[in-house]
Symmetry: C2
Amino acid sequence: MKAAIVGGGVIGGGWAARFLLNGRDVAVFDPDPQAERKLAEVLANARAALPSLSDVPMPQEGRLTFAGSLQEAVEGADYIQESVSERLDLKHRVFAQIQQSAPDVPIGSSTSGFRPSQLQQGALNPETILVAHPFNPVYLLPLVEVVPSPATAPEVVERVKEMLRGLGMFPLHVRKEIDAHIADRFLEAVWREALWLVKDGIATTGEIDEAIRMGFGLRWGQMGLFETYRIAGGEAGMKHFLEQFGPCLTWPWTKLMDVPEYNDELVELIAGQSDAQSGAHSIRELERIRDSNLVGFLRALKDRDWGAGRVLREHDDRRRAAFGVTPEGAPLVLAHMQVLPSWLDYNGHMTESRYLFAASETSDALLRLIGADIDYVKSGFSYYTAETHIMHLGEAKAGDRLTGSAQVLGVDGKRLHIFIRIERGGVVLATLEQVLLHVDMAAGRACTAPGTILSRLRPIADAHAALPRPKAAGRHVGQRRR
Amino acid sequence: MKAAIVGGGVIGGGWAARFLLNGRDVAVFDPDPQAERKLAEVLANARAALPSLSDVPMPQEGRLTFAGSLQEAVEGADYIQESVSERLDLKHRVFAQIQQSAPDVPIGSSTSGFRPSQLQQGALNPETILVAHPFNPVYLLPLVEVVPSPATAPEVVERVKEMLRGLGMFPLHVRKEIDAHIADRFLEAVWREALWLVKDGIATTGEIDEAIRMGFGLRWGQMGLFETYRIAGGEAGMKHFLEQFGPCLTWPWTKLMDVPEYNDELVELIAGQSDAQSGAHSIRELERIRDSNLVGFLRALKDRDWGAGRVLREHDDRRRAAFGVTPEGAPLVLAHMQVLPSWLDYNGHMTESRYLFAASETSDALLRLIGADIDYVKSGFSYYTAETHIMHLGEAKAGDRLTGSAQVLGVDGKRLHIFIRIERGGVVLATLEQVLLHVDMAAGRACTAPGTILSRLRPIADAHAALPRPKAAGRHVGQRRR
């Protein structure tokens, strides 16, 4: 698949990064002579952050080209994303030029304000034009508001939504077009109120930001306005909440008058306060801090399979098929991992407990393979690790792709003796020898595994009996290396 | 310290939980016959969530009592938090009753709308009255808007702010009182806009919530409105952003007209959509999901020492002094940990890699003790773990308090041989035998440690030489247990 990116600023660059890192080819057109440098910076940020969200190895990056013309960029493209300045006349000219050579290719516009029917005015083929409004940083935040007009072809809408899901995004289908779609109406309401608070000297930009990020901002990353208030209503739910707070609606809490006057004085006031608040960090530093924080939030939600984290998990599930376990071949290669930034220690290497984590990923996959999976655990039985010996032979760093393989050294009714290698590109970084015991969890003691498990385990053990015994097996700590 | 909690609903109960879990005694007054049951539910939620934020063992919980009268509740209290219904006449009556018996004790009001000067009307002692407006769930979110009026004594304001910091909260001093303080003005602006979108059929409550939590909600948990937009301005910063988006202020994006009419039709529409969106979960389930998500966000920020996470880290630092390392006594007890919910595996026990994590916490503390700390690593040298042997002897579960102790088995210029025990209340759950090598990080090979390190290490090794050698030392995996 090839995507054409028209306009390569912060938003267009973010789109390009998301397509490229998901393995799609990208052609960018932007007449700005600085476009290549700017896009390279966005791409560097994305490479540092987006792979941290994945528990499946990333695909080979797509090919990035810079086109000398709009025509060249859209040639052969399956999808076109427009992210030029928010001027309707400019967008109309761009669409006209695109549709001269690619009238049938879907065009998504990054506009935060215009309605799709405005964008379609005078277009050669309005059917392929819709709004696909993303949120900065585009390579991390899943939301895309997909807004068709009645003139947009329904099959184009569905095709674009499916394509966006393939990038790990969350297309929110906005059913009725309005100015500023949905999310930016809230941003605008808050922005206007914030400007009043600053102008009236109630609070500084820094104080306003603390009022957001220390409180309701945290809530809104995982549940929106209504679900949060539903909880606040207690057992009686939403109706109770509305009964309690509905009447407050008529209180004069917010500025209902028009917007504050936009003048130099207001600009100086805000820019000065913003410098005092955030000036200790460069914009690049703030971007990296923001991205690292967002990765942390998204990982937390992914661990809990909730909200934006569920989008990530589903994206992994779709891609995992490409990296299936291959049970033939010995030792069994069972786990594929990528070293995430949060796995590093203060030396900048993968922290030692993550080697045991990588081994657990491997042994869990082996247990699933022999039928000792999560349903088996629910039935009251499991394999517990009794003992482990680890040899550290090399160092993994951020972004390294690791595989975990298991060699079965011995099996009896209660015991499973395995040898795990954690490798990077054929180089063994650590070995882990383990004895696992089959346990009756309620009784809290080892017991013989059932025939269903042992009948799957023994053929693997028999196949592995032919393999050379690893030198590190049977070592004790501090033993001289052979 | 004793806090009196007047009004024990969701907000009052959240306050009570925060005080209790931080080791303060609490007396609650609430005439609702269901008050004890309701507070027990909030407290159960808080116990499941708040300790997960701490990397320092929690103090002994404070003592909770339910008072038969307001007078009894405030007797001997150092601080009083009022969280009764949002009716000014009721709050005036409560303050009058409180000040009859406790005129000098600071009273913080949880009001989200009233100004402190309104609360002080007719009070016996206005000097001790201020707004201390928290955010639900009070036991997790750090924000408290502290709003004095000109009649509030400045020393009371400072004392209350310091007390709130002692609970791990972030007091935001609102310098000028206005209706609804700061944060709720934004919530109100968004709420009004959201009601219009639902009423006009643009979006459902579920769609609105996705528009928030898949996009800008995630941003706002870590940076507020202004810092986010500063980044969006690129290298040119805030002024550039304002120049680009300032003119949009005059666009008719948001509903500038008055609020939508509050009537049964609107209530039914919203309650019905909310049921369709969230009805699959009970309110209790939603609370637990929310809390787990918030814990995840807050932990992510704490790992990065940013925003609300910095508040948590500072709270730990203040409390850590109480749990200092005691370098005398052998083996050395070096680390105190509590098993966090995120440390559990699908068996419901502490996952095996966390035992190695616990050992790393212990060995890191030992390395700091001998001078091989983070500054030493920056100088280009470090101790790397070469080999580890783990014996799993017991199981830890969520909330367990663990200690990590180290016994030095041997030292030479390059090697450090240690034996770590992870214990819960004197019961050893795991032992970890390790050899660490002193390395020249640039050269990538072992080298002799300097005298400064060895001179601190050898006296510990000499003291430990007298200890019995652990039976598990020198074991290899699968060896028959002695």
